[in-house]
Subunit: 431 residues, 2 copies
């Protein structure tokens, strides 16, 4: 059986999981790859920190050049986070003639066109199953299994940290800050969870899925995005009272006017698949014109699930499947004409708004007038008492269908009303 070498760059949590699989499950991997795979180099700047896998002596170094200059290295598994250093490592690996496997969604969302063009020019491949949905095979499903379909929509829970926080708030009635602290204690949230809770992470993943499923070239920063960091226990309770759960949902929907993309905390009806997603799980609901609705549900992060996806990509790359798929998909290529993306302000939706107001007799009138001026009809409106103050109240509004532009303008103006006390909380409401 042919022998090949693999270099692992980035020896953090996922890197340790990948190294463990490569060191301990050689026969299993060789069966899939039809090659004997030697983990020949592990490269990281940090040579000191103890990881939960023991490497053979001499394997770990900070010398990337040595790994890239070894002509027997066929694949570089690139698990360095962030975008700048990761981009440079990826370009150098491709320039050295290596195929690359990565789990870095931020890198692909920021530099996909440059990296994929470079790989195509050099006849190399990039595999990235682990970049979206952790261990869930969402890239393979869309890129291979659903190729006979026109994808109509994707609705996905792509950030396990947010889902853990939301489902904990729901189950225990806890407030946002308390659950974030709990999530950090359990290792489900980073010390700085900003990129998770503000929706950036889910939006980067959505940008990748939009490219894969629709050929849509979009800068993730242009996708309308709301995080979960403004939500309070009151919002979860309101949702439950109306038969909804709140989930951070990333949506891509192909309408007649183009592809509608957004990431937002979303009211999903109890009993629907996305409402049932608990804890740190992820789920991706895809609708194709032939296959109908398809749901994939599993662990979207964590050492072992992510390593499972990385090693599957490595096996695909070594066995030759990746090259076929990579060339057929032609991702982030200037030659691919993807679907047009609908102007952000035109994306339709129904919305939930919660406002803190000073009680006054014409508050409802004034707010209703602003909404009406922005072509937004009210489906229901309710005030509830503020337990801490008689002079203040909460107001909850469910709108009928309007647009992102209308609701954004309306909310901006509502927040300027003198009796409105704080920024409005806004969620989308799923169909």
């Amino acid at each position: 059986m042919e022998k090949v070498k693999v270099a692992l760059v980035g020896f953090g949590t996922i890197g340790s999981g990948v190294a463990r699989l490569l060191l301990e499950e050689g026969p299993r991997i060789a069966r899939g790859a039809r090659k004997q795979v030697e983990l020949a180099y592990v490269v990281d700047k940090d040579l000191k920190t103890k990881r939960n896998v023991t490497l053979p002596d001499g394997l770990l170094s900070d010398d990337l050049d040595r790994a890239l200059n070894d002509p027997d290295v066929e694949v570089v598994v690139q698990l360095v986070g962030g975008t700048d250093a990761a981009r440079s490592i990826m370009l150098r690996a491709l320039d050295s003639g290596k195929n690359v496997v990565t789990a870095n969604k931020a890198l692909l969302a920021a530099h996909g066109p440059e990296l994929f063009d470079k790989a195509r020019q050099l006849g190399r491949t990039i595999a990235f199953e682990a970049a979206v949905g952790g261990g869930i095979p969402v890239i393979a499903t869309i890129g291979q299994s659903l190729t006979a379909n026109r994808i109509e929509s994707i609705d996905a829970i792509l950030n396990g940290t947010c889902n853990f926080i939301l489902s904990e708030m729901e189950q225990h009635g806890s407030d946002y800050e308390d659950v974030v602290a709990e999530a950090q204690r359990l290792g489900y949230a980073e010390a700085d969870p900003t990129m998770d809770v503000d929706g950036s992470d889910a939006t980067q993943k959505l940008a990748i899925l939009a490219q894969l499923a629709f050929g849509a070239s979009v800068d993730w920063k242009d996708i309308p995005r709301m995080g979960i960091d403004s939500l309070a226990a009151a919002d979860i309770q309101c949702a439950q009272g109306m038969g909804y759960s709140i989930r951070l949902v990333a949506t891509a929907r192909l309408g007649t006017a183009g592809l509608e993309l957004c990431v937002a905390p979303t009211f999903v009806s109890e009993g629907t698949p996305l409402a049932g997603v608990q804890g740190a799980f992820n789920a991706v609901q895809i609708v194709g014109d032939a296959v109908g609705p398809l749901l994939l549900h599993g662990l979207g992060a964590g050492q072992n699930p992510t390593a499972s996806a990385v090693v599957a990509d490595l096996i695909d790359t070594l066995a030759g499947r990746t090259a076929i798929t990579f060339n057929a998909l032609n991702l982030w290529s200037k030659q691919t004409v993807g679907v047009p993306i609908r102007a952000l302000r035109e994306i339709p939706g129904r919305f939930y708004l919660r406002l803190d107001i000073e009680t006054q007799v014409d508050a409802v009138n004034q707010i209703a007038r602003v909404l009406q001026e922005h072509n937004t009809a009210i489906d229901s409106l309710a005030q509830y008492e503020d337990e801490e103050s008689e002079d203040r109240a909460g107001m909850v509004i469910m709108t009928q269908e309007t647009t992102e532009g209308n609701i954004t303008d309306a909310v901006g103006q509502i927040e300027k009303l003198p009796f409105v006390q704080a920024e409005a909380v806004r969620c989308r409401v799923a169909d």
Copy 2:
């Protein structure tokens, strides 16, 4: 772009769906296959029946030889049902140098070793995504995406007809016969639904998954199998009263004593993923040692979902991915040493039993004694009145963990007790 010809053999419901995709979605398929695909032959004995797709003149014939003798035909899509004619067509297609795509699970479950050996000898491939789970990419997920994992268990709802019947009975409190008639009217059940409702169809699919995920060579007829045809509204109500739904579950579980395989109506706890599977949907829950629990949920039958999987296989075959996967998996090969299969009588489980009895004072004693003699402890037991007769009663027993052998022997003996009026209804109870 290279042009290739494809022959479609079997122009029934699924064949019509495949023909429609090939005729109407040429550019989409060419993009995936990187070849222009011409549907050159449609072969069926029945040249008269009107299908819901219109073929170009001259495409449909009953002349299989003409298709197989055309050297430009690369792939035969074999959608003839049953086993005898289908086997002969498949062998002839392989002998003619064609790669084959099929949706026929009965054929693979019965003749997998012969067909796969033949394909390997001739350097051809067989693709069969559509044989299990319809449009759900379960074969690709296990065969490609989870190759870094040791699969620990599969619990699956693989028969949409049974799931439709069970979830209808649950929602409307209807009796079995009424729902079967309704399912036939809606086209969810065949005129003769025996292979569906007696569990044969699900068991054939489980045998294929056992081969794919565990290398287990098993005759599907040797797998312990119970159908749903003995269930009544009373069973559904009992289950609901205890917080369960009943689903026909196919299970493969790798224990220390070997692979445990069975198909049975199963009590699954409300709130678990399988309990949430409604109507004609299928679901496959896979646990891998790295990926953890992964759930795939979608339409397991029907013209378009199944055609989606067939055409995905066709694209994979034309693009070259199938050949790589086919050789790596080495399915149904004498060289592959799969896991041992646990003796059927030893397979552990908890069970639900419902008995119709003539009321008599020592009925519970006698039944309990038989169970005890077969090492089966009772977890709970309840009698309820028979509405039609004062002299009769229903008895419901939940056992603690025992084995298939013990429960089968015990039930056999219980059914011989003079006051037991009918065959016992038996379900498994999920962990």
